[in-house]
C-alpha cells in the first residue's frame, strides 16, 4: 500500500524539510505554491496610507507518495524540520493512493515511486 502525504508548510522551511526527507531516502516529491487560511492571520498592507488586511498567507504544499512503511518516519521528519512552534506551521494530511505508474517505463506499484 502507498500513502500520499500532503504537507502544508512555511515556504522558507522547504529546504530543511527536503533535506530531512532525503536522509530517509525519500527522493521524490512534488511542490506546489499555495495560499493558506487558518489560525495564522495574514498581515496588514498599505495602500496609499490606508491599511488593509491580507487574509492569505503564502505556504508551500509538498505532495509525497511513499510506501506505507515510510509514512511514520516521513511524518516525523517533516514535523521536526518544519516546526517553528509558532501558529501557522502547517498541517500534514494523509490519504490512500491505490496505484502508482512511472510514465517513462510504465512500471507500477511502489517500485515506480
Amino acid at each position: 500500500m502507498m500513502k500520499r502525504i500532503d504537507a502544508i508548510i512555511k515556504p522558507f522551511k522547504l529546504d530543511e524539510v527536503k533535506e530531512a526527507l532525503e536522509k530517509l531516502e525519500i527522493f521524490g516529491m512534488t511542490v506546489i505554491e499555495v495560499k493558506g487560511f487558518g489560525q495564522q492571520k495574514g498581515h496588514t498592507e498599505l495602500y496609499r496610507g490606508a491599511e488593509y488586511q491580507v487574509d492569505f498567507v503564502p505556504k508551500v504544499m509538498l505532495s509525497i507518495v511513499v510506501d506505507q512503511k515510510k509514512v511514520e518516519p516521513a511524518i516525523e521528519a517533516i514535523v521536526n524540520a518544519a516546526r517553528t512552534g509558532k501558529i501557522g506551521d502547517g498541517k500534514i494530511f494523509l490519504s490512500d493512493v491505490s496505484e502508482c505508474i512511472r510514465i517513462r517505463t510504465g512500471e507500477r506499484g511502489p517500485s515506480a515511486l
Partner: protein, 427 residues
C-alpha cells in the same frame, strides 16, 4: 506668462513677419528634448496606473493612455492646436487658421521653430485627458472613454489652454500665473476625474475586497518615467534654455524630493511603515504641486511646496474613504488637490526676482501678492466650474447613449480579456 518668449514673438511681429524672428539653436535643442521627455510621460502614466490595478485589467488601463497618444495626437494636429493657440476670440478660444496645421512650419515662434512649439504643447494635450482615466479604471467602457476624452480635449482642454496660456487668453491677461499647467493640466483633469468617477460608480467589491496593486515594480518604472519626463514638462515650459529653465528644473526636482520625503514620513509616523507606493505618491504630489510655480519660485520655496504638497495630497487621497467614492487611482486626490494647492502656493511664493515675467506673491509683496492670489483663486474657480460642468454634461450624454460602464460579467472576467482580447501575462 510661462509662455513669455512666445508672447513677445507674437506681440512684436505680425503673422506676416513671423518668419523674421530668429531661431536659437540652443533653445531649440532644449525644446526638442523637452518635447521627447513629455511624450515619455505618457507610457510612464500607463505603467504607473497599470501597476496599481488588478492583473486582469492592466492592459485596459494601459490602453487608455496609449490610445490617447493616437487619438489626441491626431485631434491636436487637426483641430486642437488651432483652438488653443489660434488667434484669440474673446479671450476664450482660438481661431481656426491652424486647422490641419496649416501654416505651422519651421519658421520661428519665439526662438524655436513653430512646428516644435506646436508639438511641445501637443504632448500636454495628450497626457491631460489620459490622467482622467485613473479614477474610472477597471469598469469604464473603452469606447466611451475614447469618446469622452475626444470631446473633453476639444471642449475643456483646448479652451482652458487658450484662456490660461495664450497671450490674449483672459486668465493670462488678468494676471494669473500658471507656469506649466497647474490649472490647465492638473486641476482640470483632477476634478473631471472626480465627476466621472461619481457617474461611473464604484467598482464591484469596492470597500469589501481589498483590490490591491498587482505589480508595484511597474508603478515604480512608471513613476521614474514621469519624474524624468516632468523635467521636460516644467523646465521645457520656459520655452528656452538658460536660467529660467534651470530654475524650473531645480524647483521641480526639489519639490518632488520633498513630497516623497514628507508623504513617506507621514506614513512612517502614523502607520510605522514607510511604503514604496507612499514614496511614489509623495513624489507625484510634489511634482503636481510645483507645476504651476516651477518658473516663478526659487529653490527654497520649492522645498516648502513639496513638503506641504506631499502632506496635503496624503490627506487628499484619504478623503475618499470618508466620503466613500471610488476615485480608484486617486486622480482627484493627487492631481486635483495637488493642483489646487500648487496654484495657491504660486500666489504665495512667486517672486519677480526669479522670473521678471511673474509677480511677487504674498510672502514677498503683500499688495501685488494679494492681487495675484485673487487671480489664482479666480483661475482655480473658473477651471473647476468649467471642467465640472462640461464633464457632467458629456458624461450624461455618453451614459444615455453608449453607456459608461461595462457589463457586470465583463467587469468580473476582467476588461483585458473581454474588451481587448488579450492577457498581459502568460506563465
Amino acid at each position: 506668462m510661462a509662455k513669455l518668449p512666445f508672447l513677445i514673438g507674437i506681440l512684436l511681429s505680425s503673422p506676416g513677419v513671423l518668419m523674421a524672428a530668429e531661431i536659437d539653436k540652443a533653445d531649440t535643442a532644449w525644446m526638442l528634448i523637452s518635447t521627447a521627455l513629455v511624450m515619455f510621460m505618457v507610457p510612464g502614466l500607463a505603467l504607473f496606473y497599470g501597476g496599481l490595478v488588478r492583473s486582469m485589467n492592466v492592459l485596459s488601463v494601459v490602453m487608455q493612455s496609449l490610445f490617447a497618444m493616437g487619438l489626441m495626437g491626431l485631434q491636436w494636429a487637426i483641430l486642437g492646436y488651432s483652438l488653443a493657440w489660434g488667434s484669440d476670440h474673446g479671450g476664450f478660444v482660438g481661431g481656426l487658421e491652424y486647422l490641419f496645421l496649416d501654416g505651422v512650419g519651421q519658421e520661428a515662434n519665439g526662438t524655436i521653430p513653430h512646428v516644435l512649439f506646436m508639438m511641445f504643447q501637443g504632448m500636454f494635450a495628450i497626457i491631460t485627458p489620459a490622467l482622467i482615466g485613473g479614477s474610472v479604471v477597471e469598469r469604464i467602457k473603452f469606447s466611451s472613454f475614447c469618446l469622452f476624452i475626444l470631446a473633453w480635449g476639444t471642449l475643456v482642454y483646448d479652451p482652458l489652454c487658450h484662456m490660461v496660456w495664450h497671450p490674449q487668453g483672459f486668465l493670462l491677461t488678468r494676471g494669473s500665473l500658471d507656469f506649466a499647467g497647474g490649472t490647465v493640466v492638473h486641476i482640470s483633469s483632477g476634478v473631471s476625474a472626480l465627476v466621472l468617477a461619481l457617474m461611473v460608480g464604484k467598482r464591484k467589491g469596492y470597500g469589501k475586497q481589498s483590490l490591491p496593486p498587482h505589480n508595484l515594480l511597474f508603478t515604480l518604472i512608471g513613476g521614474a518615467l514621469l519624474w524624468f519626463g516632468w523635467f521636460g514638462f516644467n523646465a521645457g515650459s520656459a520655452l528656452s534654455s538658460g536660467g529660467l529653465a534651470a530654475n524650473a528644473l531645480v524647483t521641480t526636482f526639489l519639490s518632488a524630493a520633498a513630497g516623497l520625503f514628507s508623504w513617506t514620513l507621514a506614513e512612517w509616523i502614523l502607520i510605522k511603515k514607510p511604503s514604496v507606493l507612499g514614496a511614489l505618491s509623495g513624489m507625484l504630489a510634489g511634482l503636481v504641486a510645483i507645476t504651476p510655480a516651477a518658473g516663478f519660485v526659487g529653490p527654497g520655496p520649492a522645498i516648502l511646496i513639496g513638503l506641504v504638497g506631499g502632506l496635503v495630497c496624503y490627506l487628499g487621497v484619504r478623503i475618499k474613504t470618508r466620503f466613500g467614492f471610488d476615485d480608484s487611482l486617486d486622480a482627484f486626490g493627487v492631481h486635483g488637490i495637488g493642483g489646487i494647492f500648487g496654484a495657491l502656493a504660486t500666489g504665495l511664493f512667486a517672486s519677480a526676482l526669479v522670473n521678471p515675467a511673474g509677480t511677487d506673491g504674498v510672502f514677498y509683496n503683500l499688495e501685488t501678492g494679494l492681487h495675484l492670489l485673487g487671480e489664482q483663486i479666480l483661475a482655480i474657480g473658473v477651471t473647476v466650474v468649467y471642467s465640472v460642468v462640461v464633464t457632467f454634461l458629456l458624461g450624461k450624454a455618453i451614459d444615455l447613449t453608449l453607456g459608461l460602464r461595462v457589463t457586470e460579467e465583463e467587469e468580473t472576467q476582467g476588461l483585458d480579456a473581454t474588451l481587448h482580447g488579450e492577457s498581459a501575462y502568460q506563465s
